[in-house]
């Protein structure tokens, strides 16, 4: 009989659930300083610039230290945050954003519009949605210390949606001296100066191990209740520590024993154990969920052939794939839209391709595409369980429809490198890899970077080239009403399925575990304001 490490610890923790008495926290755990929230984040924070890098952990760090002019609430409506309000001219070409009173940087100097202008410009160089916005912008300037003036060349419907976007890259406002740095000149540990609800504790920063934030006593929260990234950011703990755990079993045991308060993402296979542990609660705070995705390389054959891509999309059955990758149906659902299901632009346009998957039809489509047994290189991630399972399932399905699949196993870091290669597959190129996104990054045709059709001139890796998609995305961005936006978003979706640069593999949720003395967790990315520790 063999036993894996995880099985061993699963047994250990299961017994713990049975043996430990409710409320019997160890004396050692109770020795934690009062008012400190100990958090196990989903990844280690090693790069610190939330504008220059796209990792979710860096975005979450950004929300601790910095603040935004506008922010999205739970209904995804854009609300003023650092701004007190905005005046839009009748011709919709001028936006005058006024900063609210009481804003100051962590060094106690005042936040001014002169800081915000370079902050917006820097973000506009780094972020896809920002770059699109800046193609419409004629100028960004100041009008006194509290007013930012954005002048457009022509009306653009997503100005506030862009500068109030929820997820990466978030347009955080920074002091001028940092905001004027080039995007490639990333901010370091000495540059963590924001105006957000927490202050960076540089002295206690241990890259890869621990990050400490202290409450910003001078932060002036808005008066509205907290809602997603919007509203009042009231901080009820003195200090937040992010403690990185390389081993999920140890992380789980630390939560069960009360040595930590909050475990951001509990691996699916440990959920049955943690849900039985006394003193621990489990909940999903991310209603938008995550969407899995296979991305094709449209430069290298055979995936440079849209017919082959569509055949692959037809072969993948979301229900089967999610069962393999996630397991527990409580934490996944099929979604045959390119936008997160249940959100504004969720649509069925063109979705038959995936909603009615069929291996027989996929074989026929493959034959019709002219596929002739060329090798397909699948970059199969091994160290992220969800992606690994998706790759294994897909490799099997593709072999069953008659494809010559070369599933190359490698860690995610290697996938990130390999996928930048534009070479043919016999020279280190690739055809397909799996990843996943938070729902907030896929909400509409512009925010969803994977829908870009700019090819080698700015699309995501895979270099999807589709002029029609770009025309539709532009039309969406310039649409005047929500109805128009919905109509165009559906057309974008239909076009996306027709071209199949991506295969959408359904939605899944990763729940959070927390001690029962913790309350006030928001339905949002992991934000640590509003949280109380009894």
């Amino acid at each position: 009989m063999s036993i894996s490490r995880r099985e061993l610890m699963a047994g250990a923790a299961a017994l713990t659930g049975g043996l430990a008495l409710p409320g019997s926290q160890s004396a050692l755990a109770q020795a934690a300083p009062k008012g400190t929230l100990r958090v196990i984040p989903h990844a280690a924070l090693t790069t610190l610039d939330p504008v220059a890098t796209t990792g979710y952990i860096v975005r979450n760090h950004g929300y601790m230290v910095w603040d935004t002019l506008f922010a999205q609430d739970e209904q995804l409506a854009v609300k003023p945050q650092m701004a007190s309000g905005v005046e839009i001219s009748a011709d919709k070409l001028t936006y005058r954003i006024t900063l609210r009173d009481g804003l100051s940087w962590h060094d106690d100097t005042a936040v001014t519009s002169a800081d915000c202008v370079p902050s917006l410009i820097r973000w506009g160089q780094a972020d896809g949605m920002g770059r699109r916005l800046f193609t419409y912008i004629e100028s960004v300037s100041t009008d006194g210390p509290k007013v930012i003036v954005i002048k457009l060349k022509r009306p653009y419907g997503l100005v506030l949606e862009s500068i109030g976007k929820l997820s990466t890259n978030v347009p955080f406002m920074m002091p001028k001296r940092f905001a004027e740095k080039a995007v490639t000149d990333r901010l370091g540990a000495d540059d963590m100066m924001g105006s957000g609800p927490f202050r960076w504790n540089k002295a206690e920063y241990r890259p890869g191990a621990r990050v400490v934030y202290d409450r910003n006593p001078k932060y002036v929260p808005r008066s509205e209740p907290a809602s997603n990234a919007a509203g009042g950011k009231n901080v009820f703990v003195e200090r937040v520590e992010w403690v990185n755990f390389p081993d999920p079993n140890t992380a789980l045991n630390a939560l069960v024993s009360g040595e930590v308060d909050y475990y951001e993402q509990i691996p699916a296979d440990l959920l049955p154990i943690v849900s039985r542990a006394p003193g621990v609660k489990v909940a999903n705070f991310n209603p938008l969920g995550n969407l899995g995705m296979a991305r094709f390389n449209s430069l290298a054959g055979p995936t440079n052939n849209p017919g082959v891509r569509r055949a692959i999309a037809k072969a993948i059955n979301q229900s089967e794939l999610l069962k393999v990758a996630i397991g527990n149906p409580e934490f996944y659902k099929t979604c045959h839209s390119v936008y997160p299901c249940g959100t504004t632009f969720d649509s069925t346009a063109g979705s038959d391709l995936m909603a009615k998957s069929s291996l027989d039809e996929a074989r026929a489509m493959l034959r019709a595409s002219g596929y002739n047994g060329e090798k397909l290189v699948l970059l199969a991630t091994t160290d992220i369980p969800v992606q690994s399972a998706m790759a294994q399932y897909t490799a099997d399905v593709l072999k069953r429809i008659g494809m010559n699949v070369d599933a190359q196993a490698m860690d995610w870091a290697t996938v990130l490198q390999r996928r930048t290669s534009k070479n043919p597959i016999d020279q280190g190129g690739w055809n397909m890899f799996f990843t996943w996104w938070e729902g907030a990054d896929l909400l509409d045709p512009v925010i969803q970077f994977a829908l870009s059709g700019l090819g080698e001139q700015g699309a995501w890796v895979g270099w999807s080239k589709d002029d029609e998609a770009e025309i539709l995305r532009t039309a969406y961005a310039e649409a005047a009403t929500l109805d128009q936006q919905k109509q165009i978003a559906a057309q974008v979706q239909a076009r996306a399925f027709e071209q199949s640069f991506n295969v959408y593999t359904g939605m899944f949720y990763v729940p959070t575990g927390f001690r029962e003395n913790i309350s006030g967790i928001l339905n949002a990315p992991p934000f640590f304001w509003n949280i109380k520790k009894a």
Binding site: R5, M9, A12, A13, L15, T16, L19, A20, S24, S26, A27, L28, A29, A31, A44, T46, T47, L48, T53, T54, G128, T168, T184, D185, G188, A189, R206, P207, G208, A209, R210, V243, F245, P246, D247, N249, T250, A251, N253, A254, V256, S257, E259, D383, D411, A413, T414, L416, Q417, R418, R419, T420, K422, T435, D441, F449, E456, A459, W460, W463
Partner: protein, 312 residues
């Protein structure tokens, strides 16, 4: 003695040079960190800009000689991810690892040497067999299994110790002891097995010598015979294995630090490898190589103390 130290120091230079060369070029075969730094949604242009800004597009020889020039100034470089100097990252992480290694060595020697002597004295008895069973288990049970076993029993079930973490002894000695106990026991298991077996074999060999018979004939009590006469003369191979075991310890530290969430050098190197943070990996491997060279030198010096017949 001075000649020995000088010779070893001088011979360490080419060794370190070869290590540096191999590490540098092996790492470059594993790809570069620009794509990891840029993140999942970065475009290839963004990745390329980062590659240029990190100097990764320069010819390899140019990168190598740049790094060597840094080393000659005792500068291990700067982390590509955090932007912090590698020396300060090592300085941040060295204490937990050093404490864990030190406590493991002290505990292992204190337990394993008497165990080995006892097994040799009672060779072929049930005591000897028990010690050998413990040794076989020590060699056979992986470090992480022992770690989880101890966590389950002593941290979760009995709640005598915390599950994880590290506190400096200079901050809170009581908490340090409670947090270092289980990792030390975990890591010591294999080390105790190694030292006890060698001690047993060496002492058995010595116990057959004439001078042991002479000591017994002179009426020396058995404990004195064992520890003053037998153990002292069996010490050279024991010292050797303790020294060589340090390499084993470095490997074990990586796993133990992960299981107990100790922010030490082991985790630093593993994290750096997964991110391809070249300067940290290069710096740490050179650092480990240097430690290994210094430890070997110390062991050679100890030889001359435990066996005055040894001359260099």
């Amino acid at each position: 003695m001075i000649r020995l130290v000088l010779t070893r120091v001088l011979s360490a230079i080419p060794v370190m040079g070869v290590v540096a060369l191999i590490v540098f070029f092996m790492l470059r075969l594993s790809g570069d960190p620009a794509a990891i730094l840029a993140g999942d949604t970065a475009s290839s242009e963004q990745v390329e800009r980062i590659r240029v800004s990190l100097g990764l597009t320069k010819p390899l020889y140019e990168q190598f000689f740049g790094w060597i020039m840094q080393l000659l100034r005792f500068d291990l470089g700067t982390s590509l991810f955090t932007g912090l100097p590698v020396t300060s990252l090592i300085a941040q992480r060295i204490e937990p690892t050093a404490m864990l290694a030190l406590s493991t060595i002290v505990f292992s020697v204190l337990v394993a040497v008497p165990m080995g002597v006892l097994a040799a004295w009672k060779a072929n008895s049930w005591i000897d067999r028990l010690v050998m069973v413990i040794c076989v288990l020590g060699f056979s049970v992986p470090v992480f299994v022992m770690g989880y076993f101890l966590i389950f029993n002593f941290a979760i079930t009995l709640r005598w110790f915390p599950v994880q973490g590290y506190t400096s002894p200079f901050v809170d000695f009581g908490r340090f002891v409670s947090q270092i106990t289980l990792p030390t026991l975990t890591l010591s298991f294999i080390y105790v097995a190694l030292i006890a077996r060698i001690t047993r074999a060496s002492v058995i060999e010595v116990l057959g010598e004439d001078y042991i018979r002479t000591a017994r004939a002179k009426g020396q009590v058995e404990i004195k015979v064992l520890f003053r006469h037998a153990l002292k003369n069996a010490a050279v191979p024991i010292v050797t294995v303790i020294g060589l075991g340090v390499a084993l310890l470095i490997g074990g530290v990586v796993v133990t630090e992960s299981v107990y969430n100790i922010p030490g050098l082991g985790r630093l190197v593993v994290d750096a490898i997964t991110r391809r943070d070249y300067p940290i990996i290069q710096g740490l491997i050179l650092f480990f190589a240097l430690i290994y060279i210094v430890l070997n030198l110390i062991i050679d010096i100890i030889y001359t103390i435990v066996d005055p017949r040894i001359r260099y």
